[in-house]
């Protein structure tokens, strides 16, 4: 019994630790100040900007990550192990280092050409998307690969023998079968993107009403001792994160074939 209580006790301790932290936020604010900070134009801008940037960054990571995940899951090719290892780069590299690497890159001749003739990233909105994309693309690919790994390639083999091309077998069979896992991967990647700070602030800066995403707004509000705004933004981020996590759990129940 002591063993059981020790283990459950540890789990409860973790819950109290995080819950206490959240409760302290509610304790330090009042409804009037909370509403005022929430409806402030700069707060609303940060919310809009964060939602937009995270959604676009997630979309781009799916566009690149899904085919990459499929390739890594189904095919054998030279350099596969290296590609697979590089998916971990955003995990082993600090977000600030990632952002700084982009700044260095945009100072190279190729980077300058992209900035001048293509899209301007440094201290601009596209910079937020790029920073968030860099942070989540590897993770999204890794998660989507895990979902695809769970689907036996035999289904596609049979579909192809029945007359489907490889593209048709992918979207008629593999995609619907792995849909739950892929959706969960997308939601988790989006949740990570919306909370991204280090790479974004380094590449896109912290310019109010321009590149100030919610995490960056928390940082600047705290620096200027605007506690109400800080708490509002923190609670909003937590709310969005919890909704995303609930959505991930929900995907596990939504498709049943019986």
């Amino acid at each position: 019994m002591a063993f059981r209580y020790t283990m459950i006790g540890a789990a409860i301790c973790i819950f109290i630790f995080y819950f206490g932290l959240l409760a302290s936020l509610l304790f330090s604010t009042n409804l009037g100040g909370f509403w005022e900070a929430l409806t402030h134009p700069s707060t609303l801008f940060s919310i809009r900007l964060s939602l937009m940037a995270a959604t676009l960054a997630t979309l781009f990571s799916v566009l690149v990550g899904l085919p990459s995940a499929y390739a890594l899951s189904r095919f054998q090719f030279k350099g596969k192990q290296i590609v697979d290892t590089f998916l971990e780069i955003p995990i082993i590299m600090s977000p600030i280092a990632l952002g700084a690497s982009f700044l260095v890159f945009f100072n190279t001749p190729l980077g300058e050409v992209i900035q001048r003739k293509g899209i301007s990233f440094v201290f601009e909105f596209p910079g937020i998307i790029l920073a968030q994309f860099a942070t989540i693309a590897g993770l999204a690919t890794r998660l989507m690969k895990a979902s695809l790994d769970e689907i036996s390639p035999r289904y596609e083999a049979v579909a192809r023998s029945l007359g489907s091309s490889s593209w048709q077998a992918f979207y008629r069979i593999t995609l619907p079968l792995s849909f739950r896992g892929l959706l969960a991967s997308v939601i988790l990647a989006w949740a990570k993107a919306i909370g991204e700070f280090g790479a974004t602030v380094t590449l896109a800066g912290a310019m109010p009403r321009k590149t100030e995403t919610m995490p960056i707004a928390i940082f600047t509000a705290l620096a200027s001792a605007n506690i109400e705004k800080t708490i509002v933004l923190i609670l909003l981020l937590i709310f969005l994160g919890l909704v995303a996590l609930y959505a991930v759990r929900f995907t596990g129940k939504m498709v049943r074939y019986d």
Binding site: S152, R154, A157, A159, R160, S161, L162, S164, L177, V255
Partner: protein, 364 residues
């Protein structure tokens, strides 16, 4: 006619070299080989999922080895069946017809008759997760046959089934064959499965074809000891052909100093004097002689005295393990239950056994 010529697959762990299979239209051909011999890989090469090093595949006059799987008109039922779990039984069945853009109306009658034969009319709206093992097999077979493939590939169709369902699927396959005449290539490691279903067999051991032939020929006349061992045959002995017996059509064969008189027709190739060969004694063709009963002249050539070392009941028959008096040879004798009861046999009892001409088979 389906022809697979010179199929060679080289992998790190094993190689399949120069495989040749010829399948008559409407025939049920078995590719038999031990587990892990690359049978599934051969199927995948025929479908087009694996690129072999060399080899040609012909369906009629059409060479298909360079076509993608979807253009080959070869259906495939893998061992795990791979029924699409997100589609209903009906959607699974119609998948191939739709994927190949066949007009549904033209196929309607054919699919209906398949559904009737397979007895799955009541399952059409169900999802595969709600089907029993036997029902899944039937749906998978129907799905593969629905688009009228030129060749149907089956990967161990009776494996993992209870004996009753095995029998049911076996009967179903026989009905399918007689009603719809599909051309089938089936891989298996189970000779019993092949014996029950196949017309013709290709025996494939250690990456090479060891024997091709009709099922009875393979079972009764294995070409090599390797084939005999794969078939689970006991009573295999290495010996020497000594030369002609008193009769022109017979030869003497010696094992550990013990001589047998063997008809030349019981040899896979010519009985060459001095050559070493493997002898297979068919357990079901050996007789235990009853004391006092007259013996046919033809049996007198190969009579041996010895003791019973062991007796095993195998359900439908008994295996009696006989050791020749001089200890030169011991072999298994298979006796039907009714005969066993009449013989009053026990371990240690001294008996005379006669080896019929049909009990011998000499291999290379």
């Amino acid at each position: 006619m389906i022809r697979i010529e010179g199929l060679t697959i080289l992998l790190k762990t094993f190689a399949i070299s120069d495989l040749y299979i010829e399948i008559e239209e409407g025939a049920f051909h078995f590719l038999l080989g031990p587990t892990g011999s690359g049978k599934t890989l051969i199927l995948e090469s025929i479908i087009g999922l694996h690129q072999p090093k060399t080899g040609k595949i012909w369906i009629g006059e059409k060479e298909i080895q360079n076509l993608p799987p979807e253009k080959r008109e070869i259906s495939y039922v893998p061992q795990d069946l791979a029924l699409f779990p997100h589609l209903t039984v009906k959607e699974n069945i119609l998948y191939g017809i739709k994927a190949q853009n066949h007009p549904l109306k033209v196929y309607e009658g054919y699919v209906e008759s398949l559904i009737q034969v397979m007895k799955i009319g009541h399952l059409l709206e169900r999802f595969p997760t709600n089907l029993s093992g036997g029902e899944k097999k039937r749906v998978a077979l129907l799905r593969a046959l629905a688009p009228k493939p030129k060749l149907l590939l089956l990967d161990e169709p009776l494996s993992g089934l209870d004996p009753s369902i095995k029998f049911e699927i076996q009967q179903l396959l026989k009905t399918l064959l007689s009603s719809f005449h599909p051309t089938i290539l089936c891989v298996s490691h189970d000779f019993e499965e092949a014996f029950l279903l196949g017309d013709k067999m290709t025996l494939f051991i250690d990456g090479k074809v060891e024997q091709v032939g009709k099922r009875d020929d393979i079972f009764l006349k294995p070409k090599t000891k390797k084939v005999a061992q794969f078939l689970g045959l006991r009573n295999l002995y290495r010996g020497k052909i000594l030369g002609k017996d008193d009769c022109v059509e017979r030869s003497q064969f010696e094992i550990n100093g013990l001589r047998f008189s063997i008809p030349n027709s019981a040899c896979q190739s010519r009985m060459e004097t001095g050559r070493e060969a493997d002898l297979y004694i068919r357990p079901e063709e050996v007789m235990i002689l009853r004391k006092g009963k007259p013996i046919k002249e033809s049996l007198k050539r190969n009579i041996f005295m010895g003791n019973i070392k062991d007796i095993l009941s195998r359900g439908r028959h008994h295996s009696v393990f006989f050791q020749e008096m001089g200890g030169n040879i011991s072999f298994e004798i298979s006796i039907p239950n009714y005969a066993f009861r009449n013989l009053d046999l026990s371990v240690g009892k001294q008996v005379d056994v006669a080896l019929r001409d049909e009990s011998f088979w000499v291999m290379e």
